[in-house]
Symmetry: C2
Subunit: 386 residues, 2 copies
């Protein structure tokens, strides 16, 4: 934890693990005989229990959304730019809950957990997941924490899909739905990139059909490749160009000196891939991307998103970023159109950014400003209720 991090940081935080004893039926029909959720909280729950904000994570995120786990920690939680005292999700006002989803690899029940039926790790046998499974487990966490109604549920990317699913499944349990850089469903191109990522993992001979832990190995190359594809597509062409251009890391462009030539972008990508592949679980990556592919908000409503949103009771806030080409502004606009047609309250802003999809995690003055303004509104609506 940097010494200058204190003022706008939630500071040191400690994850909590809760074991739910009861059976948990997944959308696929399979049953988890009990499950763990690991979560963190920031700020204080007010006496009316009305100031709680739920943070849903994206593909490679987890429960550690803000603050630091120790004084040695160099990097704060993944959404630290937007959660903390005086930040848009102001921990002086709100009680913030962030969890690791089922199927993840940061402490909640997932492929690395022991399957009680066999006494071995789940590995590839961990059941397939849908976004609704996460939302259902998050509802059980809400019950545990005594939160009947969330002041807001906030998510970016795959996290935004969870927030959207909440608004349909538990319409009376949230006041505001904040959907950042997300979509009502993936495009064929998105599914295609996810397929490449999964194929890269599964082609790695160290994958052993998903039972790599039993073989005491990890599909590092495959997971690194998957991450490289993700990394390229979550950034914009523009930011890659301005960050790396055609600069060399080693070697020379001079004719006759081709050996060992490496562009900076190559070594950067390889570094990103390798560090990720040591830190994330391949089976989790597969399950998460499958949930992404399957999510289709309006499928059960005859593919009519207006009909899907009919039951929603919350207000909506949507944010998109100009250079995000995996969750493009068009996808957010479609959602906004459907919400308006369903006569819901929806605020939408498209933020100018060069950073592609990753912009939703990174500092940006305008994003900061409109996010803070919306969260102010959320806060005011809490106060009015009292």
């Amino acid at each position: 934890m940097p010494t200058d991090a204190n003022e706008q940081s939630v500071g040191l935080v400690t994850p909590i693990t809760h074991h739910f004893e009861h059976d948990f039926e997944l959308a696929c029909g399979k049953i988890l005989a009990g499950y763990d959720l690991v979560y963190e909280t920031y700020g204080e729950l007010n006496s009316e229990r009305s100031n709680a904000i739920l943070i849903c994570h994206a593909l490679s995120g987890n429960h550690h959304a803000a603050g630091f786990h120790s004084f040695d920690d160099k990097r704060p939680g993944w959404f630290d730019h937007y959660i903390g005292p005086g930040k848009p999700i102001d921990t002086n006002r709100f009680f913030v809950v962030a969890l690791n989803n089922i199927g993840g690899c940061s402490g909640s029940t997932g492929p690395q957990s022991i399957n009680p039926a066999t006494g071995k790790r789940w590995g590839a046998d961990f059941p397939g997941l849908r976004v609704r499974d996460w939302v259902k487990s998050q509802a059980e966490l809400s019950d545990l924490l005594g939160i009947d109604v969330w002041a807001a549920i906030v998510g970016g990317s795959l996290g935004g899909m969870q927030a959207l699913r909440w608004s349909l499944e538990y319409p009376e349990r949230l006041k505001h739905c904040v959907v950042i850089a997300s979509a009502m469903k993936l495009s064929a191109q998105n599914i295609a990139f996810n397929e490449v990522a999964r194929k890269a993992i599964m082609s790695d001979p160290a994958f052993h059909d998903g039972n790599y832990l039993e073989h005491d190995t990890l599909p590092r190359d495959g997971l690194a490749l998957a991450r490289m594809v993700g990394h390229i597509t979550y950034l914009s062409d523009e930011v890659l160009g301005s960050k790396f251009g055609r600069e060399l890391r080693s070697g020379s462009f001079k004719m006759g000196q081709d050996e060992g030539v490496e562009f900076q972008i190559q070594s950067y990508l390889n570094y990103q891939g390798e560090s990720f592949s040591g830190a994330f679980d391949a089976n989790s990556y597969i399950r998460m991307t499958q949930a992404l592919d399957f999510f289709d908000l309006a499928r059960e409503y005859d593919n009519d998103p207006v009909a899907a949103f009919e039951n929603a009771q919350c207000d909506f806030f949507a944010v998109s970023f100009t250079t995000d080409w995996r969750f493009s502004p068009e996808r957010s606009q479609e959602m906004v159109q459907a919400l308006m047609a369903a006569q819901k309250k929806i605020s939408y802003v498209e933020i100018e950014s060069k950073l592609g999809h990753d912009a939703f995690l990174l500092p940006n003055a305008r994003y900061q400003e409109v996010f803070a303004a919306y969260m102010n509104r959320v806060h005011k609506s809490i106060k009015r209720k009292r």
Copy 2:
């Protein structure tokens, strides 16, 4: 060959292989002690030898640009939509030459050839290539065929880079330079995708550091992955969406029936990857993508493309496609700007298409029309000279 293919087809064609006996020095300084080029020709060379058109191929192309190799052939050459009697590159008027580049895997000297120094296949030891190496070998082929001046040199994508390099290296040897869906250099994002492709190949344990043929195996999974990435990025989001959308090939979206669910886009990509990996050489793919990455038209001219084009003597025709995001219209526009600033004759058209980068190979009425119009001009300039 389909029976109805005759009228606008060059019909049956037979590749010719020529062995060049002399040493060929590559840009990297290494020497090929003789080399083979395989090529095809369509149409007749006129007595003035002034109606010859050179076709340069892209990443996975070869010498088979038009017509059929046998009556059993189901698919014609890769540029058959645009080469043939009455087509834009009209074989009633032009003598068309298409070759497989050095480093390829369709018959010209490449990684699968025997290294005369060792008596074994080159494999991974095949020297690194630059676009200029191809252009130099194409100039030797021109000498062989007695073509002092090409009426036009035509290329798309990586082929366009060869046409551009010709205009700088042998300015007096071409009258027209046709550059389709190409660029003066790759962006960092392009290099990044190529790096993923190479990494996928090299991570495949069957790659054996490039010496897979000696191990009697092929890095099929790696090459399939590389092709999948290429395929996604050479198509537009739009065309993937309209072609596949979120349609399933197998299984059902119904809850509890997740097993075996596959989107059509997944099976399509897997099919594309697998069929390519049986037909193309992995080392060739690596060498070709490296040449792509290295190409930088203006690098030796202080990064000033205007200075680079100063010596060019030919007229230029550039084409781009609206949804091509790997060789976007912006890249063509930069080239056009530089050519105008260098006071060259340049015609440029941006074609409306939903097909992404692959549009340059596919039927398109407007593209057909402007391409034919330009080639008419090329033909008229030949006649005027007589």
